[in-house]
Each structure stands twice: as structure tokens, then as C-alpha cells.
Symmetry: C2
Subunit: 148 residues, 2 copies
Amino acid sequence: MDKRLIEAVELFEDVMVHGTERVLKSVDSPIWQEYSREQLQVLKMISKSGAMPAGKIACLQGVHKSAVSSRIKKLEEKELIQIIKSSEDQRTKLIKLTKTGEEVVRQSDQAVYEYVEKLFSDQMTDDELDQFVSTFKKIREILKWEGV
Amino acid sequence: MDKRLIEAVELFEDVMVHGTERVLKSVDSPIWQEYSREQLQVLKMISKSGAMPAGKIACLQGVHKSAVSSRIKKLEEKELIQIIKSSEDQRTKLIKLTKTGEEVVRQSDQAVYEYVEKLFSDQMTDDELDQFVSTFKKIREILKWEGV
DNA sequence: GTAGATTAGTTTAGGGGGTAAACTAGATGG
DNA sequence: CCATCTAGTTTACCCCCTAAACTAATCTAC
């Protein structure tokens, strides 16, 4: 049992499992108060990859289709998305961002950027930032889930 | 606007915000099916720091006291914790692990260890592991919440 | 000492997240 | 044409969370 590995596991657990929750609570943009993380994630995915059916969202978020069903209903009520019946297959519903939805994504990105920038730029040296980038790239690769 | 910083923010968001969820779903120990993350976190905290009052748990978890109130009720029903009235202050309830609770913590730790080990040891070189440890130490320090 | 304020924890209402299973309605294919 | 498959919805039930109202114990200050 590698001693460094034990340390790594503990760090992983601390930072990833427990730390992330605290971070998310600290991002205090009005956007993050108003919409849930999962809702913003849906918007972000669509913004990145374009309109997609509900089933694909469920798959990407890794949750049951019924969870997505209620989620998109809420997002539609908030007028952040628009549901379009596919012309090929009448069963599938293509989820598209509205103008408002696009704006929300922009604001959310902005909030995250400002938060992390504040966190990092004061407290990280140039070298540490380089190391951060290469380590996190590696982790993303290891976890290899397709880009949200 | 530092280009590397933008990359760092994106990585941070991908890995921390969205990646953690996926990781947690992949840890498929029966323990993680049976008890929620928050419940296990309570057990872990007590196991690390010893018996503590409900209020302190709420504070450490960063949630409302009412959330903890219902949580410890569930944990008591499952016989993982034991609630002891403090002798000094009749209002406070000291939360202590039972033998079963200790065992659950042990098993949860084991599950996480095995999962992360499997993830890392195959896919990380020695140098990368070193870099991981130093980067994550830095992040933990920056986020500086006291050790769960 | 006793009244008022504070503190620890509970309860309830309401809203987020999730699943599984039953269901509707289109698509497909023997 | 009818059985089967598939996309999405609904329902019942679980966990998470908060805010606000509540109980009960402890302080504090007159």
C-alpha cells in the first residue's frame, strides 16, 4: 500500500467529494441562487453542443430520464429553453436555448470565472497554476467523461 | 484576461463541479448505495474528530441546523450513531458513533480507497502522482475549510 | 430571584434533487 | 396489421435543503 497513494486518496476525497459542495455554496452570483446546478448544467450543455433531445441530456447528466423530464419542464416555465418537436420523429423533443437562456449561460460562466479567478490569482504562483492545469487535465482525462 | 487562467477555470468547473458527481456515482460499494453522501460525511467527521453536538455538524457541513436534525434522526434509526445528552448543557446532544457506525466508516473509506487506487495507479505515472498531491494540497489550502 | 434574551435542537411547509414503474404515443419491422 | 421498441411523462416515494415557528434550557441583568 503506497503511502503517497493513501495521501492522494485522502486529498481526492477532501477536495473533490467534500470540497466541491462548499465551493458551490460560495459562488454567490444571483444566477446561482436562482437556478440549480443541474439546471445550469443543462443550459451549458446545450450552449456547447447545440439543441438536443431530452434523452441525450439524461444520458450526459447520468440521470434517469424522468429527472430530466421534470427539469426541462421547469426550464421551459422559466423561459430559458424552448421545446421543439422533431420533424423526423414525432416522439423526440429537441431542447433549444432561448435568448434568455443564452444570457443565463453567459452570466453563469462569468460568475464562475470571477470566483475562480479571485480564488486563484491571489494565492497561486505562476508555477502552481501551470501545475494545476496539467494535473486537472490529467484528471479529466482519467475520468474521461465527454465534455458536459 | 490571462489565457491560462481561462483554461484553469474551465478545468476547475469541469472536474470539480461536474466531474465530482459522476465520480460519486461510480463508486459502487453497497455502503454508498445504502447511505447518502451527507450521512457518510457526518459519520466520517465524528470518526475523525470525536463526538460532537448537532450544531457543530451543521456548521462543518455548512447546512442549516434543521437539515442536520433530520439527518441525525435517520442515522440514529439506522443505529449508526448514539445521541447522548450533554451533562453540562441539557440542550445540546452529543452525537457519537456506535460500533456499527465505526464499521460503516471503515467500509466507506475502503471503498473510496479502492476506487481511487484503481483509477490512479493504472493511469498515473509517479511524477503525475507527485504533482497531483502537491496541486491538491494547494487547492485544499486555498479553499481552506477545516478538515471535515 | 425572576423576566427577557439567547441558544440548541425540532417541526413543518415547500422546493430542489433522484429512482423505479406504469403509462402514452409515435416508430419499426416481421 | 399487430407486436415490439423507444421517447418522454406521470406518480409515488426517497434524500437534500431552507426559512420560520416552536420548545426547552441557559444566561444576563435588573
